[in-house]
């Protein structure tokens, strides 16, 4: 798995400078939620709100007027709607991956990133869920897709990948949300105990559920955390696999491919990490959290992007090979059409952004340069959107019968629905930054040098799985 590459160098040098102590951590992190928001925050928040407005208007018009407000047509019955869905879902993968997979792999450096990434996951999934919801022709009957007893005696069709989606994505959302909240409980307690005014005290107090750091609690707590991680790991892999089934189980050339599940997962991790580092870079600049989100963290993430980016590139080439090797003329045409047809520009944008740009990270200088990694992460986000666009639209617009070939042209409402979702995402995210601890304080504390009793490593094997998860191997 992509995450185990950096293991070796972790133990060697500490991730955080010496002056970072438990107290320092809670002060630094809580500060963000306690002080006035900086100008930068207000700017981001304002713009985000504006685009949220755009979203509301576009969606309102869409529902009122019908799907025809979009550019979708026959043959391209799906276009930007599902493109955006898959894009957001993909982004929504990094969070759980970081908090779950890296957790299982004992990657202690995750501690300063995971809270952040999980939040991003949840907001991304919210944006993703928007599209399957509004893309249906009769949204008021959407509940028919759920197994609810009704006077028609009808049930959903469990053979439909779309229904698997419903279950997969909603499960993913719920589990991520629980995971996130569980992680937040002890930090809520911190905020509660630091709070000066009573309102803050009561609000955070309520959220903290009366947490008192009891070791009898920590015991179950850590076990729960471990189990959630163990559950989320296959879940995170399954979700994008299921999303890829929407395409892989169809009969469309260019969709009907066995490579899709791993290919989609890799892509998801790729785009997810890109989005995380974009956001991290912004936040650590705005809030000067350079001591906790260190360059080392960013570098490690860049390495993962390099790996997954290359994986994705491999998938692209393999698709072509298989299409050629299959000898199926329809399959072959689709791929030739992708690279040379009317949508070639989209295809090559995708390749440049996703395969070429991350290769810069082979060089340490580039991989540790803030401007470079920021630019690349943005490029990757764009590239991954185009990947989904290419998969969906270029396959549909020219399939089996040339008589039915056509082109897709987006409308204003299409654009509104997409940019609007970015508005929704950043609104939620800036609210999170403002009011919640963006770094898992108790986890960082636990992972600090000297945070754990010195002589006990020896005689507590029985508790190893629980504690070990958060424990640090002393150098």
């Amino acid at each position: 798995m992509s995450a185990d590459s950096p293991i070796a160098e972790i133990g060697e040098t500490p991730l955080v400078p010496a002056h970072v102590t438990a107290a320092f951590v809670s002060d630094e992190v809580s500060r963000v939620t306690e002080q006035k928001a900086p100008v930068g925050w207000w700017m981001v928040f304002g713009v985000a709100l504006m685009f949220l407005g755009v979203l509301l208007v576009s969606v309102g018009y869409l529902v009122w007027n019908g799907i025809g407000s979009w550019g979708n047509n026959s043959p391209a019955a799906w276009a930007w709607d599902i493109t955006n869905f898959v894009w957001w879902i993909g982004i929504g993968h990094a969070g759980t991956l970081i908090s779950a997979v890296l957790f299982l792999f004992r990657q202690k450096w995750r501690t300063s990133v995971n809270r952040f990434a999980e939040a991003m996951t949840i907001f991304a999934v919210i944006c993703a869920l928007l599209y399957p919801t509004i893309h249906v022709g009769r949204i008021w009957f959407l509940y028919w897709a759920l197994p609810i007893p009704n006077q028609m005696g009808m049930w959903p069709n469990f053979k439909s990948p779309l229904l698997w989606d419903v279950f997969a994505v909603s499960t993913y959302f719920t589990v991520s949300l629980l995971f996130w909240f569980v992680g937040l409980i002890p930090d809520f307690a911190t905020l509660r105990d630091r709070a000066k005014n009573v309102v803050r005290k009561k609000v955070y107090g309520a959220l903290a559920l009366g947490w008192r750091g009891s070791n009898r609690h920590w015991r179950h707590y850590e076990r729960a955390y471990l189990i959630l991680a163990a559950l989320s790991t296959p879940l995170v892999l399954s979700v994008h696999s299921v999303v890829s089934f929407d395409f892989a189980t169809s009969v469309m050339p260019g969709w009907h491919t066995t490579i899709f599940p791993p290919y989609f997962v890799a892509g998801a991790v790729f785009s997810g990490f890109a989005m995380v580092s974009t956001l991290m870079i912004i936040c650590r600049q705005v809030y000067g959290l350079k001591d906790i989100m260190t360059m080392k963290h960013l570098e490690l993430m860049n390495k993962i992007m390099l790996v997954t980016g290359s994986l994705v590139g491999y998938a692209y080439s393999m698709e072509f090979f298989i299409a050629w090797y299959s000898g199926n003329e329809y399959e072959r045409y689709v791929f030739i059409n992708r690279a040379t047809g009317p949508y070639a520009w989209a295809y090559w944008t995708m390749v440049t952004c996703n395969v070429v740009s991350p290769q810069l990270f082979w060089w340490k200088r580039l991989r540790t340069s803030i401007p470079v990694m920021f630019a690349v992460s943005i490029l990757i986000n764009i590239g991954m959107w185009f990947e989904r666009f290419v998969i969906i639209v270029t396959t549909l617009h020219r399939d089996y019968l040339p008589s039915s070939w056509g082109m897709f042209h987006p409308t204003l409402v299409d654009i509104g629905c997409y940019t609007g979702s970015l508005g929704l995402f950043f609104t939620l995210f800036s609210l999170f930054i403002r009011w919640l601890p963006m770094i898992a304080m108790f986890e960082v504390k636990a992972a600090l040098p000297g945070a754990q009793p010195s002589h006990h490593a020896a005689h507590d094997e029985h508790a190893e799985p629980a504690h070990g998860a958060l424990a640090v191997k002393e150098a």
Binding site: P149, Q151, M152, G153, M154, R192, V198, K201, K202, G205, A206, G210
Partner: protein, 210 residues
């Protein structure tokens, strides 16, 4: 510093109970009140003319097909034309004030505006003739019309209800000559014969939706 009162510790318990009770209540409520059994059955609007099936079909024992004449040949059970009523009421009760509306219609040629009682959704293509041909009696869907002074909807007429019979029609089957008989009960051997019938109504979409 103690922020919350001790009593708040009961919150989880209370919340759990509340959710259970409320959720259960809402579910059963919707289940019952929103079901056609409740919303549809018993609908008995007032008609422009107080026509009593109780009197005509019941006491006078007129056959349904005297008025709903085309029912064995058409998907629609026709509502009798004024003409049909006048067939008798030109002589019987010819001056009854109750029949004023009828006589107007006959004079002016303007139809009597009856209020629809039995209604299936627009996209359901129900065919009377087929059901009669299969041996489903009027009473199965319309109830004891012969006892209704004012026509009332007797069955929910929703999809689940249709499907019940389409899946197992035998309880509603009867000899073709008994179709309009409201009180027919199968004799022992008739019952066994009918139990034999392998008839099944369509359960695929286009059976009823086009």
């Amino acid at each position: 510093m103690q922020i919350f009162p001790r009593s708040l510790n009961y919150l989880p318990l209370v919340a759990a109970l509340g959710v259970a009770v409320l959720g259960g209540g809402v579910t059963t409520g919707i289940w019952y009140y929103f079901s056609p059994k409740n919303t549809q059955v018993g609908y008995a609007p007032e008609q422009p003319i107080h026509y009593s099936h109780k009197l005509h079909a019941g006491e006078l024992g007129m056959d349904c097909r005297y008025c709903h004449a085309n029912i064995e040949r058409s998907q629609e059970a026709m509502i009798p034309p004024t003409q049909a009523c006048m067939g008798c009421h030109a002589v019987v009760k010819k001056d009854s004030p109750k029949l004023a509306a009828l006589r107007d219609s006959w004079k002016t040629g303007k139809p009597v505006e009856w209020v629809r009682v039995h209604r299936v959704a627009d996209y359901v293509f129900f065919d009377h003739s087929v059901h009669l041909a299969a041996g489903v009696g009027c009473v199965s869907c319309h109830g004891r019309i012969d006892q209704m002074d004012v026509v009332r909807q007797d069955q929910p007429l929703n999809m689940v209800w249709c499907l019940e019979c389409h899946r197992n029609p035998n309880p509603n089957l009867r000899p073709k000559d008994q179709i309009t008989n409201m009180t027919w009960k199968p004799s022992a051997e008739e019952a066994t014969q009918l139990a034999e019938v392998k008839l099944r109504g369509p359960q695929h979409c286009s059976g009823c939706h086009r």
